[in-house]
Symmetry: C4
Subunit: 204 residues, 4 copies
């Protein structure tokens, strides 16, 4: 039961966070004789930020699903680690809005906006890593743990995203758009399964 | 399991997107002695856009349901095709807000707004078509595939919406209100089942 | 399956609509030396509208639940009647915001705002009545229909809310606050079960 | 069935309320040559309020879960007590926004904002206490009630939060930031289980 309700609640929060991204996309205001088409075009940073954040939250959902398919038992720390993961996931619309507002103008605001974006994603990545480390700590939660080398390799793949986010934070001070693109590429990498170590639990 | 959680997550995103449409409906501002009744009346493009978008997202849900009732197995590409479908569905409140703001004033903004609306719906339709094509590619996902002619006909019915959206984009440059009405009519067409090709899976 | 997913989707839309009501409650703006406490107090129409709308949507959920506990089979028209009910339920935050903005100032705006509120609730009530009438039309959806007199009485109780909403619309032109209070009283009436006619379906 | 749908609806409302907190976090506006980094930093009351409210709603979810794991039967009053609990939970984003806007400036607005925050949390705590008292009133809902002393102790632990909120309201008039910190500490206390009195119901 606990696992089902934890998954349902997590799915709810993730689904709402991913859908709330759209409220940062606002109709542009038009002044004397401006073309709507042109003003819509000028909002490209909003669209780019929407796309990258949507992909990333989507990938959080995919991997949440992959991790919990293997989990057989939920304990107290896992509940809190999961709540911590949701806290950072639900926060994503905020840095997304900051990037949407300030990426286009360049300068310090663009660099700071994308660096903030990277910091939130780094903390999201570390939170997910902590959850994964707890789940694979021993066989109490998974039922059956694979050889230590397999677990280590999976943890490494799972954590490598955080290292990339660290790079993206640095890159934000050189080229904010490139740093945003790196976030997008990281999300695409995680659409492939990096989390499976144990047999999945059939609940059919 | 995978299928249940994919359906639950999709239902969540679709339910949130359809309900978020309402936050584009704002109380009108009143200046010196204006009647609220008159200003509410003037917001008719908001109500029209709300209605058409609500119908369309509602129909996406109905058809998502119809397609996945037939699916027996979920694979990796289907997860990504579904995420892509949700991306465009969750985006709908944005063009809806643009139409609400600019349809009433006419001119270039009205034409551009409804054309943008059509483009998002076209991409939504194509995404759904790609998902449907993948599901009906062979019998691995459906368990049992009907004769090729039945599949072809169902795909054609399922895809025809995208052709109509293409027409609606063109029509937006002639008569934006008519183009919006065409979107509404398309949604009504899809309330009827165009997606069933295989026996449904009982999960009771 | 269909029934489960219809209930889950409806629960989602209703839960989102009821929770979105809060975004109409905004922190007041303060000008030179105004007290926050006083400005918060002045927003009482927002709180009243939030409370009545929350109660009403909560009651829609309770009754949706009571009706569908009795339903054994879902058909096409029921899907559409349910979508229609959700359309008006999801719309509630809009007239709520209009009442919150214009009830306090009195005059034509207050009367129009509460009348609009009543119109949306009337259409919501009629939509629910239509759904209930369809469900109790014969025994195909309920499995087993009680005597005609029982059904008639239940329909009458279920529909009487719409008559009250009609009264509330008229009352809005005399005393907008009283009309809002009548809406609240109607919601309280419907917390008691007015919908049960058939044995409930155990799904445990 | 009733219990499952009540849990699903409650999870939905709680998940939406917790995720809606983010829309109070807005990108700061920049004037002539201000640094984005500095303006983001200045918004610390928003981040503090987000964190405390997220923790508190998260803890409401954990405890809702702990209480309903023990419940075997849902009756009418429990439905209403649960709706009342959801009303206050869904309201949390409002005082959170007020704190975010007025904590940083100090003075009467800061004190009033945090006192309002405390009042809403107090009413939330009392609502949860009333629900818990009803559930543990006799053995009809839990199936099997533990000795009276165990129930009394659990009620006391469960209710003690409301006493702390009362203290926090008073503290708001002395030091608003300290009062907010006390709210955060209370949430952390409730991450530990204070609600278990009866054997849980397996639903697997």
């Amino acid at each position: 039961m606990t696992k089902n309700r934890l998954e349902a609640f997590s799915d709810g929060v993730i689904a709402i966070a991913i859908t709330l991204l759209v409220i940062e996309l606002r109709p542009p205001e038009l002044h004397d004789g401006e073309l709507l088409a042109r003003q819509l075009w000028r909002q490209w940073p909003s669209y780019a930020a929407y796309l990258v954040s949507f992909l990333t939250i989507g990938v959080v959902w995919l991997n949440h699903h992959r991790v919990f398919t293997q989990v057989r038992r939920v304990d107290g720390p896992l509940l809190l680690l999961n709540l911590n993961l949701l806290l950072w996931t639900a926060l994503v619309p905020f840095p997304t809005a900051v990037v949407a507002d300030y990426l286009g103008g360049g300068g310090e605001p663009a660099r700071t906006a994308v660096a903030l974006y990277g910091v939130v994603f780094l903390l999201l990545g570390l939170s997910f890593g902590a959850l994964f480390a707890w789940v694979t700590r021993d066989d109490r939660l998974l039922g059956q743990l694979p050889p230590a080398a397999v677990v280590r390799a999976a943890r490494l793949r799972f954590m490598s995203g955080s290292a990339v986010y660290l790079v993206a934070i640095g890159l934000a001070f050189v080229s904010p758009p490139l740093a945003l693109a790196l976030h997008g590429a990281t999300a695409l990498y995680y659409t492939f399964d990096q989390a499976s170590v144990a047999p999945t639990v059939s609940e059919g």
